[in-house]
Symmetry: C2
Subunit: 247 residues, 2 copies
């Protein structure tokens, strides 16, 4: 069945994951410390090569499980974009398909995985104008920013997540199975870096059909008067959208 023209360039394909969560009042991404060259010692997005006979989506789910121990069930995963500049990997031509994952703040069940220690890191510090790690000279890349073009990928992932909160119910993907309106609001505030009025937010998300599904239970874990607990509703879109100040 192999009838591809012989001169066709063949390239290695990887998937890379932008796994975001909200944690300690900051938007955080999952990163691993690279154990091998290139960019050994530098931080990078988790990812790896796509296997033979493996779908891209599958590869992303597998890497997510392998490198972070997360169960696909509790995490939203969607394709982000593909990066294929010829020089992006010094080892040769590598095209990477980036995926965006939104996860609740579970303790990284890292232990047991064979990968380098995965850890949550605030995106602000990951992107704080470190030099894009083109560590050709130095032997080890510690503190040189994200490896490869992963800073660009992370930026794109964050922007996608921010935009999605406007018109989809995916903010809930950052919350536990059951959550209060205030917890969801804090997700919005942290992802957007913007204060929202608690009362108007409450009205918006509770009045929008099928956006939230009440569980009947309440909690006082946030202090004050008991708050209703909700699950994510069946709505796929938030219409009309909940807009940020100005994009």
């Amino acid at each position: 069945m192999e009838h591809l023209p012989g001169q066709v360039t063949k390239v290695a394909v990887t998937v890379d994951l932008v796994v975001l969560t909200v944690r300690d009042d900051a938007l955080c991404a999952l990163v691993v410390r690279r154990a091998v060259e290139p960019h050994r010692g530098a931080l990078a997005l988790p990812g790896g090569f796509v296997l033979d006979q493996e779908d891209l989506e599958q590869a992303a789910a597998r890497e997510l499980a392998e490198e972070t121990g997360m169960r696909p069930g509790s995490v939203h995963v969607e394709q982000l974009a593909t990066y294929g500049a010829p020089g992006r990997d010094p080892r040769g031509r590598v095209v990477t398909v980036a995926y965006l994952a939104l996860a609740p703040d579970l303790p990284v069940p890292a232990a047991g995985s064979d990968a380098a220690e995965a850890q949550w890191s605030p995106v602000a510090s990951l992107l704080a104008d470190n030099h894009p790690g083109s560590g050709i000279d130095s032997d080890i890349d510690r503190d040189a920013g994200l490896a490869f073009d992963h800073a660009e990928i992370l930026r794109d992932g964050i922007e996608r997540a921010r935009a999605k909160l406007e018109y989809s119910p995916l903010g809930a993907a950052f919350c536990a199975e059951e959550f209060t309106v205030a917890e969801l609001r804090r997700v919005y505030e942290i992802v957007w870096g913007e204060r929202l009025d608690p009362r108007n937010f409450h009205r918006k998300v509770t009045k929008t059909e099928a956006f939230l599904e009440p569980t009947g239970a309440t909690t006082t874990r946030d202090g004050g008067r008991p708050a209703q607990l909700f699950r994510r509703g069946s709505a796929e879109h938030l219409h009309p959208p909940l807009l940020r100040r100005a994009p």
Copy 2:
């Protein structure tokens, strides 16, 4: 410099183009008739293999020029998504990075290109439930729907275009360099398949800062009272967005 692990699967990478325009009151896509197997005789999206040392964006621009003769300047191109299911090309593992292009209704300057005849075709007929062309038995695939998974790619491209009209000034990418408000409105109406109030639409697009740039000239080509001609403005976003009925 080649230090990729030897057992890494290498795959061929193509770019495929969803080139859309508005033409004869219908949303149309550019398709080519395949001259070689697989799916010989079937319609397919224009595209081709990414060359050695070529960026993905470059490859998309090159294919656009080669297969359709369009100049990049007059056409908006953006990455759409990547498709890599193991069985999507019978010749072997091929991952395709799809690009979305929005073009004005130029006569396809096809002549002179070495590719198969490119032609505009209404998307409604391209997607009218033909069997997804898995033409294993038949020798020639004429009238068997789009080749490969191109129907899925086309659907994704159309949905992206529809969504983008809501919050970006890209509707103008379907118009000539200079256009009237009514011409822009017809783009919206045809892409969305929905009637818009001419007067409210006029107000919305002309009052939004930097969305349209008046040229000073007028035209009567649409009949009736002369209409002002505009160019696309410098705005990158349309805020607040111009929403469809219900997504």
